[in-house]
């Protein structure tokens, strides 16, 4: 029975990967990017929002896995190996989304031959490349039960650099002040950390459920601790979210903020606020719900859904208002709904993530505590 379930699971993931490969062929080789709901106005859409979502979650996981080694809080050690492996799987998912966002990904070789050090995108590409290498090295060491403090600290520093550089990337264009670099350089690492806590809770508790391994008292205490930390991060995220709304949506008068004000009424915004922040925060604030496994899992899933919607809302908020010559013949704000091919990009990335993670969970003893 268990073998059939596993085969079904792999079959499902295989289907997701096949859809992704079909999308890759059609987007990059045959038809082109007209398959996406992209226009000359909405130049970045769901694939880049998914990239931001996955890459920040991966950086956030680096913060979580660094807690025992960088901050010396040893009770988080049982999470270390699973978290480190999850970082790799999620980063690969982020790269999958990026691959299907780029028009000519094979020209990425010019990152090495023709680097532009003034570009945040160059730094981000190099930092994420380095991050993946460091993660692989770090996990290899962890797997051999030898954890180097230096490598742990290095991973932590790169995670800070990547998540803050993403804020720089969005905040570079002076013409789009809605993406405030200073704000995003704080908001991105914080929300990445929140997504990471949600992912750790979700994947760890799912492991216990599917492997039919009951939670020990130590595990229960650890996950309760993690839930409290998750609640604190959600409160901070909500504060940032509200201030962003007040500053960009109410007090700012520059014409460029009109796009953001338009997004305040959108489904993506409400999904991010109510489903992604308010409801999970209320759930996690109730001690009885927080103590229950279903409460933790529900809050984590809702937060991740809301965070994804929030990433999309953030990307769109600086783009939905056409300006200059591209505003000719356009409505004051353009609307966006992803095409099935854009959804396939997300399904592809998620399938790759879950496939890698399942292989790791079954073969690499992710619950093992390293010394």
């Amino acid at each position: 029975m268990k073998a059939i379930k596993i085969q079904l699971w792999y079959g499902l993931l295989g289907l997701g990967i096949l859809l992704g490969l079909l999308t890759t062929y059609r987007v990059l080789i045959s038809t082109g990017f007209v398959l996406y709901a992209k226009t000359d106005i909405l130049v970045w859409t769901m694939p880049i929002a998914a990239y931001v979502f996955f890459s920040l979650t991966s950086s956030g996981l680096a913060f979580v896995s660094s807690i025992p080694i960088v901050f010396g809080i040893k009770r988080y050690q049982p999470l270390e190996k699973r978290t480190a492996f999850l970082e790799i799987a999620i980063l690969v998912a982020a790269f999958t989304c990026l691959l299907l966002h780029l028009g000519s990904p094979w020209n990425v070789v010019y990152y090495l031959f023709s680097p532009n050090l003034a570009s945040p995108l160059w730094w981000l590409g190099m930092l994420y490349g380095l991050y993946l290498i460091v993660l692989l090295l770090s996990f290899r060491k962890m797997h051999k039960a030898v954890v180097s403090k230096g490598l742990g600290i290095f991973t932590f520093i790169i995670a800070i650099a990547t998540s803050t550089a993403l804020g720089w990337l969005f905040g570079l264009p002076d013409a789009r002040p809605v993406y405030n670099a200073n704000f995003l350089a704080m908001y991105f690492p914080l929300t990445g950390f929140g997504s990471a806590l949600a992912a750790v809770l979700l994947f760890s508790l799912a492991y216990h459920h599917y492997a039919k391994i009951p939670l020990s008292e130590g595990d229960s205490n650890l996950y309760d601790d993690l839930s409290k930390l998750f609640g604190v991060v959600m409160v901070l995220t909500l504060v940032f979210f509200i201030w962003r709304t007040i500053v960009g949506g109410v007090s700012a008068s520059a014409v460029e903020f009109a796009g953001f004000r338009h997004m305040l009424g959108s489904g993506w915004y409400h999904l991010a606020l109510w489903i992604g922040l308010v409801i999970p925060l209320v759930l996690i604030a109730m001690p009885s719900v927080r103590a229950a496994t279903w409460g933790k899992v529900t809050s984590a899933v809702l937060f991740l859904i809301g965070m994804f919607a929030g990433r999309l809302e953030l990307v769109l908020s600086g783009l939905v208002m056409p300006t200059g010559p591209k505003a000719e013949g356009q409505p004051p704000f353009v609307s966006y709904w992803p095409t099935i091919w854009e959804v396939f990009v997300f399904v592809f990335a998620l399938s790759v993530l879950l496939f890698i993670y399942t292989l790791g969970e079954r073969n690499l003893r992710l619950s093992e505590v390293t010394e």
Partner: protein, 242 residues
């Protein structure tokens, strides 16, 4: 080394769009892409309305955000001030489009000149197909009216998955000619020249009238200037020169 700039005289411009058509022909610009474009606005309330027409193109900024953001230097500055793009280095991230405050960079979402790849005859049994026509005229390289001279400094037709934009007709400048939009303008509203030559026509106009540039507050320092707006001042008609 020259520093090229364009002055657009809004009093002379009649909004005919000849600049845009000339640009398409000269640079083999594909459907949906506009190297030369316009911003139109209306003011007032009917029947007291006024129509404003402002031609636009890449501003070839001295401090260009597109160049600063490009990770592989595909978007780069030439010594003569032209902002140029190298499709061979372009990764298609569209960060330049994201950064450009003037919305003058376009992406090839699909194969260029797709219409001319269609093998269905326009009238079944009556006409040839677009693909056959393109094949007979220029071996199927883009549109049948493709201009081979464009291929001297850029691919004659830019491929799918990269961005493209106005180059001030750099291939024409290299042989001592002015951009084709300025050449084709029937009202001589576009004046092209070298800012480093004190007596150039562009400098004369900038000295004579109070020019303005788009979104100057952003500090990008555009090299496309606008002068006048339907006032009775006069100057001797000119196309400028190099």
């Amino acid at each position: 080394m020259p520093k090229y700039a364009m002055v657009i005289d809004l009093q002379r411009c009649v909004g005919c769009g000849a600049c845009s058509i000339a640009c398409r022909n000269e640079n083999n610009v594909s459907e949906g892409i506009y190297w030369s474009n316009k911003i139109t606005e209306t003011s007032g309330t009917f029947p007291n309305v006024r129509f404003h027409y402002r031609p636009t193109l890449c501003n070839h900024c001295t401090n260009p955000p597109c160049v600063r953001g490009c990770p592989t230097k595909a978007m780069h500055k030439l010594d003569n001030g032209i902002t140029m793009h190298d499709p061979d280095k372009c990764i298609g991230c569209r960060y330049c489009m994201f950064n450009c405050p003037y919305e003058v960079i376009y992406f090839n979402w699909q194969e260029p000149h797709k219409f001319w790849k269609d093998s269905r005859p326009v009238i079944e049994g009556g006409t040839s197909s677009p693909k056959e026509m393109a094949q007979k005229v220029n071996n199927g390289n883009g549109a049948p009216y493709s201009n081979p001279a464009r291929g001297k400094t850029l691919p004659e037709n830019r491929p799918k998955g990269v961005v493209e934009k106005c180059t001030f007709c750099d291939h024409r400048i290299n042989v001592g000619e002015i951009p084709y939009c300025a050449e084709a303008c029937p009202a001589d509203a576009r004046v092209f020249g070298d800012l480093d030559k004190p007596d150039s026509k562009v400098n004369q106009l900038l000295g004579k009238y109070k020019p303005y540039r788009l979104k100057e507050r952003l500090g990008t320092q555009p090299n496309v200037y606008y002068i006048r707006s339907y006032n009775p001042a006069h100057y001797k008609r000119t196309k400028g020169g190099i």
